[in-house]
């Protein structure tokens, strides 16, 4: 399954080239990628358009098109993503009941596993494997954050 991480990296680099935070994701069903995407936060001005959500929307469209029951389909999906899903994405993936999550580097700012025990709050457990090509994923992020996020206003100075 980790072989699909390369596909996720393709999406992460594509996001980076479009001026987005470089995170990429693919949804794998059996041995087939059925959804793929990178972050689209800046272009949409919507802070929730993370790579995982792009894939969730594609998958739902796929279900409608093929007239498949979404709940069952999600239970067979492996989520492969370059960075640990944030609390929001992790909560969504737990609620949808995906089969497993495989991620690259940890997300110590928003991580759905590192910061909050999402599984406990949502009330479902799914298999989560982290650390697949973590260094590469982290390097992409570090490279990005060296530059400034063009869409964000300057950070307010802390008042003392």
């Amino acid at each position: 399954m980790a072989a699909f991480m390369e596909e996720a990296f393709v999406e992460a680099r594509r996001a980076r080239d479009a001026g987005e935070v470089p995170v990429g994701c693919v949804f794998v069903l059996g041995d087939k990628v059925i959804a793929r995407g990178g972050n689209q936060v800046n272009v949409t001005r919507n802070a929730t358009r993370h790579a995982e959500f792009i894939c969730i929307d594609t998958t739902l469209a796929y279900c409608r098109e093929k007239r498949l029951p979404a709940r069952q389909l999600f239970s067979e999906i492996s989520v492969v993503v370059t960075v640990e899903p944030c609390i929001m994405c992790s909560a969504a993936l737990h609620t949808l009941g995906v089969k497993e999550i495989i991620y690259g580097c940890e997300n110590d700012r928003f991580g759905g596993k590192t910061l909050v025990d999402v599984a406990a709050v949502v009330g479902t457990r799914i298999d989560i494997i982290g650390g697949v090509r973590a260094e590469e994923a982290m390097d992409l992020l570090k490279e990005f954050y060296k530059g400034e996020n063009p869409a964000a206003p300057p950070v307010a100075k802390k008042k003392k």
Binding site: A70, M88, V121
Partner: protein, 367 residues
């Protein structure tokens, strides 16, 4: 219902200057609705105690040298007074591995101070954390003299005096609008409203929708995307008719579905409610003073500076979506079984996050 009653009651509560005759008074407002801040754990009633070693010095003359060495070598208890009469706090019991004497020697205390501190040693309980509220302080000082710096704003959140009566009336009006739109326009499905509190003016309204069976399209998720629409963004194709802007308009209604807007404009109860969002800065460059906040300085960015009113307490996904969107305050009416702000979890209490909103719940009498 007695409208004068509302005015009197709120004015008494907040002991603020008498409210000006407010234009929202023409509106029927639910008299039994209170707005309660959902405070994080550090503002809770219960205080935590820790066990510590304390001793009684033989004479007050020893105090100076003892306190000086303690503050250098065992710098604990910044939230407490180190000394009470001749009694001195030494350190938490959990820190001492063997005997207290060995512990002090290990920290290079002088022999005379070790001797002074090892006299009449007791284990006592003292407050573990700093008092944030006067109520906590009153409890804590019974255990040991505490330091306390009153925080007026935190106190006002705790006792409900943070809103002026005019603001309170507006919040209640939004609560009522949530109920009306849910019931009369959105077939009972929950609704969310995003407001720019500066005017105040409605930026976007979203209702979750039964026909989009996608379980993740909760109204908070739709709402932040409708706010994005008001900033010439937006991600999803929505099966919804939105209000079209006039060319002459200085604000935009692009974030408000037509059905909701029509309802508000037709209902007498909401005739004073303003709708429309400030345009993104590409469309309007504003001159503002340097002390202004980010919303005033740079124009709309995500939901920075905006308030969100929700019929239901948001789930963890939605609560985090609102953190990502940098919402200023969240007001909700009904608790949810999977709610992540009060019921199952308190996301705004996670210190490590890069943004924190304030959370308020509308409480109806008897619930």
């Amino acid at each position: 219902m007695a409208r004068a009653g509302i005015d009197q009651q709120t004015d008494m509560e907040i002991s603020a200057p008498p409210a000006k005759r407010c234009k929202f008074m023409a509106t029927e407002v639910d008299d039994n609705l209170e707005i309660k801040a959902v405070l994080t754990t550090e503002y809770k009633k219960d205080i935590t105690l820790i066990k510590v070693h304390s001793c009684q010095l033989e004479t007050k003359q020893q105090l100076q040298s003892v306190v000086q060495e303690l503050s250098q070598k065992l710098p604990h208890f910044h939230h407490l007074k180190r000394v009470s009469d001749r009694n001195v706090l030494i350190c938490p019991t959990a820190e001492v591995e063997h005997t207290l004497e060995q512990h002090l020697q290990g920290h290079a205390f002088s022999d005379s101070v070790v001797k002074a501190l090892c006299r009449d040693v007791k284990v006592i309980e003292v407050p573990a954390d700093r008092a944030k509220l006067r109520m906590q302080y009153e409890k804590m000082k019974k255990y040991w003299p505490c330091k306390f710096h009153p925080d007026k704003y935190a106190e006002s959140l705790q006792n409900g005096s943070n809103f002026t009566s005019k603001q309170r009336i507006f919040h209640k009006q939004m609560a009522q609008l949530l109920r009306s739109l849910t019931k009369n326009v959105n077939a009972g499905q929950p609704v969310g409203i995003c407001v720019d509190p500066r005017q105040p003016s409605i930026v976007a309204i979203a209702g979750s929708n039964d026909t989009c069976s996608s379980s993740h399209r909760h109204c908070s998720m739709l709402l932040v995307d409708y706010v994005a629409r008001s900033q010439q963004g937006g991600a999803t194709q929505h099966q919804v008719d939105f209000v079209q802007d006039d060319d002459a308009s200085k604000t935009t209604l692009r974030g408000i579905p037509k059905a909701f807007h029509d309802y508000i404009r037709q209902d007498e109860a909401y005739k004073d409610v303003q709708c429309g969002a400030q345009m993104s800065v590409e469309y309007e460059q504003q001159q503002v003073e340097a002390t202004a906040d980010n919303l005033a300085k740079y124009g709309p960015y995500l939901c920075t500076g905006y308030d969100v009113y929700l019929l239901r307490e948001p789930c963890l996904m939605c609560a985090m979506a609102l953190v990502h969107s940098r919402v200023k305050r969240i007001f909700f009416l009904l608790p949810s079984d999977n709610g992540a702000l009060a019921t199952r979890f308190q996301l705004h209490d996670v210190k490590e996050l890069n943004h924190h909103y304030e959370v308020f719940q509308f409480i109806t009498d008897g619930t």
